[in-house]
Amino acid sequence: MCGIIGFISRKKRMIKGDKIAIALDSLKERGNGQGSGYVGYGIYPDYADCYALHVFLRNTPTYHKIIDRVKSILGLYGVVVKDEEIPVKEGVLKKEFIPWRFFYRFHDSYRDMENDLMVNIVMEINDKVDGAFVFSSGKNLGVFKATGWPMEVAEFYRLEEYEGYMWLGHARYPTNTRGWWGGAHPFNILNWSVVHNGEITSYGTNKRYVESFGYKCRMYTDTEVVAYIFDLLIRKHRLPVEYALSAMAPKFWDEIDRMEEEERRIHEAIRITYGPAALNGPFAIIVGTHEGMVFMNGEIEENNTLIGLTDRVKLRPLVAAEKDDLVFVSSEEAAIRRICPDLDKVEMPDAGTPIIVRLE
């Protein structure tokens, strides 16, 4: 069981990172101090067109060698505009890893396929460079995570110094794998970030499915695979968002059998084709999305949005709430009220019914 929360300003208002930390702190009960993390969207306006790679480097005296190896891979397709240690407050956490960031731009010749290339680069670094783990690879966003309590991790990364229009947070109570920095949430690939409460019982199936499309699961935990499934279904296969979410939390055959012909055919096709992408077991997830998602009505979303989804029998809690331009999604209403006591609306989405919040 883990605590999750996310919020977004539909007007793209910038909000400081300490807000999400305060909210997440109230979900301490759902974690055990073995992993907390955040992602902020819009936090790197000065490098908005660069990929911001956050990488854990094994904390050894020779960590510069690891940086060189990462750079040599990056150098093949583009330029590192800037790289530095992610500013941290020393002494708050035991520094198992040194968090490093690279702002990176592809050469023009690779522009058309930069997202696919970035996925490959992330897979290659995680797979081949000993002592380096890429844990954030989107544009104008960044993941901050470590082993520790929500407040410790926020303090460590000096979260109050960042401003973003969307934030997700996660307090971990690890059940399936040992707590380590890379195992904390959010999980990110490109502009997708996932925080997840629950355990994916279909992990083995999902993992092997995405692996046959070239993704490599190296973080030893089930949430990683969710991020890859989002990337595969929505960005690569360009499924309309609503149908992609239905592939992940499929309608029951009973419901499908009762649908009118065209709808029935679509949902049958989704389950037949994307069965291995279905997420089974109890889960509630909050996802920060990649831009360019296609909706059922043909609209294309140019921005990052926020999605909340539970498993199809809703074995994990999820509530949504609104206040003016802000929309919150969390495992607990209490966490939302901690930072926004007076809400316009609170609702509990039905099992398997997604919440999708788009920018105005």
């Binding site: 069981m1 059940t175 399936n176 629950g198 355990e199 019982t201 279909s202 992990y203 083995g204 199936t205 993992k207 092997r208 499915y209 692996e211 046959s212 499309f213 296969h237 360009r238 499924l239 309309p240 149908y243 499929p250 029951f252 055959w253 009973d254 065209e262 055919r265 679509i266 049958e268 096709a269 989704i270 389950r271 037949i272 084709t273 994307y274 069965g275 291995p276 279905a278 089974n280 077991g281 109890p282 296609v294 059922m296 009505n297 043909g298 609209e299 199809r312 029998v313 074995l315």
Partner: protein, 510 residues
């Protein structure tokens, strides 16, 4: 003369106190074990194969069949079996015939794999309260779905809507991932075939016709029958191809990879001869290869021909025996137009196979599934073709494990025969089956009640289906597709590293 009789395998005893001389055993035993002589039943134990028909039918429970304990000097190399086989072969100069699956003591990997269940961190699902979905589609799947957006006018407003552009090839819809394997009419009796057909219809699943054509009496059930095309092409015409739910090309069989089939002339009765489209009383011989398939592209052509003959409306499966390079062969099949590959492990049953093949050729199904699934994933085509596993699947646990290793569905054969009465005596090729299953003799066939047989087979499938749901629920999974290839939910016990690697699973404790 060199006496060449070997001691009988079994010893039949009648409790003379209990026996009332009703003569039932004489009538029931089709092997001629009993003869009535005045006020006594005479026993010829050497004819007994322990099919237990007499034991079950004796109104006084007077009959016991026990293993004959006549002693051979024990020897680790020159086992009793080896000595018996040599004595028999030196007498006849023939290939030794045998039936049912591989009888050697190779490891049964299913029995070294254990399953997972949820405790605390995620809740098990109660199948009695929550939906538990076993529905399985067998056939070609697209790699991805494509949608197009069409503008429509609804109440004066123009709206765009996503429409599915991808066409899905015809798939078989199974309500449970358990199908009945191909066992031909000819090898089996019509009553056995009818019982199985009624059962699969009731359970929402399918049975294989076997290679002997389809008897007219089975036509009403044809939408639940997969018609087989084997190297003998028995009973194959355009009606046969079009009447079934799908077509299966049989390249090989787990019990006897690399050789064809042989139905002795005695079993080719008038009805069998009509169904198979061969003269009555002649041996029905399936050659080892298909004489139009000498390479993978020939197979691809046959797949396509069958598709054309059925206007691309029927899925076409290809069945191969699990042999060393099964993964590469399956991959070749996956890249043809075939919709499913059937892998038959070396424990697959048979009505008749040379003993030397049954016991020595082929590989275990567990490892074959793992190898094929893995290879198809490496090639990125796993999800586009279905894998059906067969050969030695004995229980719902085996089904569960086969699916978790990577199969979409399984075929069961021997288990179904056991449900119909078979006691696995292993003499199907003699045509004398006392249970009316593997015989064409009307007096024996009539012993098998079709309705009752259908009920028992349906019961078996339903019972396993229920158990599958319970196992899935305990694993916290509510749809079978989330089990497929989910080797994370399996652990090996008592297997070495090489075996674990071949199966793609971890050892318990990891």
């Amino acid at each position: 003369m060199i006496p060449s009789a070997v001691p009988p395998k079994f010893k039949v005893e009648i409790d003379r106190e209990k026996c009332m001389l009703c003569g039932r055993c004489v009538e029931e035993c089709s092997w001629g074990v009993y003869r009535k002589e005045r006020d006594r039943i005479v026993i010829y134990s050497n004819r007994c194969g322990a099919c237990q028909r007499c034991v079950v039918m004796c109104p006084r429970d007077a009959i016991t069949v026990i293993e004959n304990t006549t002693c051979w000097r024990s020897h680790p190399l020159w086992t009793i079996e080896v000595r018996e086989d040599i004595i028999n072969q030196s007498k006849t100069g023939r290939v030794l015939l045998s039936a049912t699956g591989n009888a050697k003591e190779y490891p049964i990997y299913f029995d070294h794999i254990v399953l997972d269940a949820c405790q605390v961190t995620n809740p098990p699902i109660d199948p009695l309260r929550e939906p538990m979905e076993l529905r399985t589609y067998i056939g070609k799947k697209p790699k991805k779905l494509e949608f197009e957006f069409v503008e429509e006018e609804v109440e004066g407003k123009k709206i765009k809507r996503a429409k599915l552009k991808t066409k899905i090839a015809p798939n078989l819809k199974l309500e449970t991932p358990i199908m009945i394997a191909h066992m031909s009419y000819g090898a089996l009796s019509l009553n056995a075939h009818l019982a199985m057909a009624k059962a699969v219809k009731e359970c929402g699943t399918y049975m294989g016709s076997g290679e002997g054509g389809l008897h007219r009496a089975l036509y009403p059930y044809a939408d639940h029958i997969i018609t087989q095309v084997a190297s003998g092409r028995f009973g194959v015409d355009v009606d046969y191809l079009n009447i079934g739910a799908a077509i299966e090309i049989k390249i090989g069989q787990g019990a006897k990879p690399g050789i064809g089939g042989h139905l002795p002339g005695e079993k080719v009765t008038a009805e069998v001869s009509m169904t198979r489209m061969i003269p009555e009383g002649t041996d029905a011989i399936s050659p080892a290869p298909h004489h139009d398939i000498y390479s993978i592209e020939d197979l691809a052509q046959l797949v396509r021909s069958l598709k054309e003959a059925t206007r691309w409306k029927k899925p076409v499966f290809v069945k191969i025996a699990a042999v060393h390079n099964v993964a590469a062969i399956a991959n070749g099949i996956a890249t043809s137009d075939a919709d499913a590959v059937v892998i038959d492990g070396f424990r697959g049953g048979t009505g008749a196979a040379p003993k030397v093949f049954r016991d020595h050729v082929g590989i275990p199904i567990e490892i074959a599934i793992a190898a094929v699934d893995e290879r198809l994933r490496e090639e990125g085509v796993r999800n586009e073709i279905s894998i059906i596993a067969s050969g030695g699947i004995r229980s719902s646990a085996d089904v569960f494990k086969a699916i978790a290793l990577g199969a979409d569905a399984v075929y069961i054969g021997t288990a179904v025969l056991i449900a119909l009465g078979c006691r696995v005596c292993g003499r199907c090729y003699t045509g004398q089956c006392a249970w009316g299953i593997a015989t064409q003799k009307p007096e024996l066939v009539n012993r098998l009640d079709v309705e009752e047989g259908a009920r028992r087979v349906a019961n078996l499938i339903k019972a396993w289906t229920l158990e599958l749901k319970e196992l899935l629920g305990a694993a916290g999974i509510n749809a079978i597709e989330s089990l497929r290839g989910n080797r994370d939910r399996l652990r090996g016990v008592g297997l070495n590293e090489v075996e674990l690697k071949a199966l793609g699973i971890k050892h318990a404790g990891f």
